[in-house]
Symmetry: C2
Subunit: 510 residues, 2 copies
Amino acid sequence: MKTLATLENLIDRLREIQRINSAASVLSWDQETNMPAGGGTARAEQIATLQGIAHKEFVEDETEKLLGAAVDLTTGYPLDQDGELWDESAQSLLREVWRDFNRARKLPSDFVVKLSRECSLAQQVWAEAREGNAFVDFLPNLETVLNLKREEAQYLGYAGSPYDALLDYYEPGTTIAGLRPLFAQLKARLVPLLRKIQNSPVQIDDSILFHAYDTARQLEFGRLVLIAMGYDFEKGRLDLSAHPFTTSFHPTDVRVTTRVHEHDVTSCLFSCIHEGGHGLYDQGLDPTHYGTPLGDSVSLGIHESQSRMWENCVGRSKAFWRFFYPVLQQTFHHQLRSIDLDHFYAAVNRVKPSYIRVEADELTYNLHIMVRFEIEQELIEGRVKAQELPELWNQKMKEYLGIVPPTDSQGVLQDVHWSLGAFGYFPTYTLGNLYAVQFYDQARMEIPHLEDEIAAGQLLILRQWLGQKIHRWGRMFTPERLAQRVTGVSLTPEPYLQYIERKYGELYRI
Amino acid sequence: MKTLATLENLIDRLREIQRINSAASVLSWDQETNMPAGGGTARAEQIATLQGIAHKEFVEDETEKLLGAAVDLTTGYPLDQDGELWDESAQSLLREVWRDFNRARKLPSDFVVKLSRECSLAQQVWAEAREGNAFVDFLPNLETVLNLKREEAQYLGYAGSPYDALLDYYEPGTTIAGLRPLFAQLKARLVPLLRKIQNSPVQIDDSILFHAYDTARQLEFGRLVLIAMGYDFEKGRLDLSAHPFTTSFHPTDVRVTTRVHEHDVTSCLFSCIHEGGHGLYDQGLDPTHYGTPLGDSVSLGIHESQSRMWENCVGRSKAFWRFFYPVLQQTFHHQLRSIDLDHFYAAVNRVKPSYIRVEADELTYNLHIMVRFEIEQELIEGRVKAQELPELWNQKMKEYLGIVPPTDSQGVLQDVHWSLGAFGYFPTYTLGNLYAVQFYDQARMEIPHLEDEIAAGQLLILRQWLGQKIHRWGRMFTPERLAQRVTGVSLTPEPYLQYIERKYGELYRI
């Protein structure tokens, strides 16, 4: 059997390239958390330079030579010409490197640099436009990015829609054709459920969440929950940023951010738990495989499954609050002393169509994704112009959620993704929601008394299970194979739908 | 006349390389201010990778081709083969690029990577060893770095001592032979002056500085002074780090750090002013020349002249405190209400031999440098082994300052420099002290009523003068030429010595 040892030169090269990518990630993190306002233009150039170098080194003849010695470069099949087979790790590594290489070599390095620069700049313009509710200010940058992404799809090639070429980057193997029935199935059961909830006699009062809560204490509580989850502060940090995110420079340096609103006790809390779920995944990757696909996360859908599982299946469960609500009550004695657990639990699970995706409840969240999924296709396929976006957005919001945002800041400008060129990213959020419940159901079957443990504040047992089942494997398995290995079946929306119907059925007495 | 426009391709290349160096600086800044403890090893590799790439790109044939088209690569003389001369900017740029290129090409890229990695690691070990007062823990890393620096000197070549090859990097043209008489001159007048001060009937009581001062307020005051100096927070930040430093990623993103001790009101204050002086220089460089020598600082000695001028000539002057002492009194009413200006002014100027260089007064500071200057030579020339350092250190401290530090943490382990491989750096501090007074004397002659302006809190006028005379020129002139242009003469210790003798003569009634 040939092992990873045979691939040492290729791996050294990948590791070197990853160090450049990690450096670019440090610069991006810094841009979001620390960079003074004036530094933006220079920073965009610096990040673009690093990404250009990383791309150039990756697609160089030397990589092709090293990779070509191990796989057929046209098909990706491992070469066994000397009669010896590759072991499973080596096969997985080669499959994934070939996939990345094959994609990267289709893009000229100049194009990569240009895309990186334009996205950094667009992000900065977007942030200001959002702040000032001025879509027109963002429009020229959005058009530039959009055109570049269309160009990228052409470079990459596709069978069905150019949008497929972009989807595949975030979630390998995903296509419009594959997603449409999935979304249709969700829509068919979520929309009627939403209607029932809206017509339910049960009215949940969540006003207690929006009293004044000291921001420093909110942060402290978020930090406490992260520690309980097993997030390792020796290998991580918690900072503030306009939009919570997680980034990793190495499994020994994985950073999460949050935001704190004095008049919303849920914002900091759930974003800490959410990003903590991402952080645990990145801290759980095997550092010996840093730089290779075996030290990388499987896909954005799987990554999101980790954050959503912690945020929703755990963080919005009764069990979780059995332990943590008394702690929260102690922290905010004045505000919460007369609110009982059931009231608080209901409040953090209230279903209500709202404008902002990241603040949406577990049910309507996917409707927000459907809005974006449909708009993205039309944008990338060129059936809709960027300037038509605000109108289209509001129209889709009306259709799916029954509400129209009063401003673009609360509408089409709310998400950073399009400024970053991340078209095709949104659907992975819904995939993450589905994977989350599918994995969590399995965890409950395999871990004895999981909910009792959680109710006793013992969260580490779940982190350990996820580490063993998912984190440590990196990209050893495709998302599909991973789901099969962990749960016995491929991705299916059924567990999520049953979970939602059960949870809200109880809460709203439907 | 041929201008910079003719050099466009070369400049583009330099700019690209500088972006990589700037990225490495972001990673270093992050390491000192934010990085979680566990991230150190991976970070050292990431920085080393970037520095290796920057070095490799710089010494590549393409640079040689572009540079060789404009200068004689052996002598550095500009080529005027087509009869047209280069203008002054282009000549300066070519002179400095040739100097850098000539130096860089002597070093193999593998060596640059290794040196970078070992220094990052040594720095981390040093920080722990200093914390724990354990020189032996640091010894192996110090030996590694020392051997690499000796090796570097061999690569670079030298006429007199291998130490000269290292000196020249920080202060172009500086040699042991040039520095020795300078230090001898200082020693000849500073040591007797110190003795007179120690025998003076005037005893300054500075105990008020070491009462308890709220750290948040100290930081606020430091920030206030930075703003008064003209440090632009739209293009900079102030953070905390174990050792105050300034770093620049671009003139639009220049960051200073400080430290705050509750029981020493001077530490945060003077490090803010000191680093602010560095920061003004970096913010004052011409951004259109970013990446080329014309957008870079002249030398460390000149850089230090800016920090020391602000810290000492301004920050420890009576004029400065005429305005700022009432503000400080308001900030720390309880501690300072009964202390008058003269008392406070004397306290922050008390002369007393002490263990820690960065806390030394203006007089004994240079004695600290002489200790290091002599030890460095012996280390690099191989006459002293790293393991003998603690003993040698204490012996020299006794000789120059008459005191022996009780621990290595307060002695040989106090400075970060040797862990970073920065042998040859220390002498630039003394050069900075001398340049500072020489420039400041000139400023007082040229700016009407400068000290009255300062006494009215108007510091911007000095920043503007420095910007015009020094900052904006980058490396257009050598340090020597710059001193001549600004003050009419080359570097001379006379202004500094007269300033010191006058200032302390008054304070100590000598």
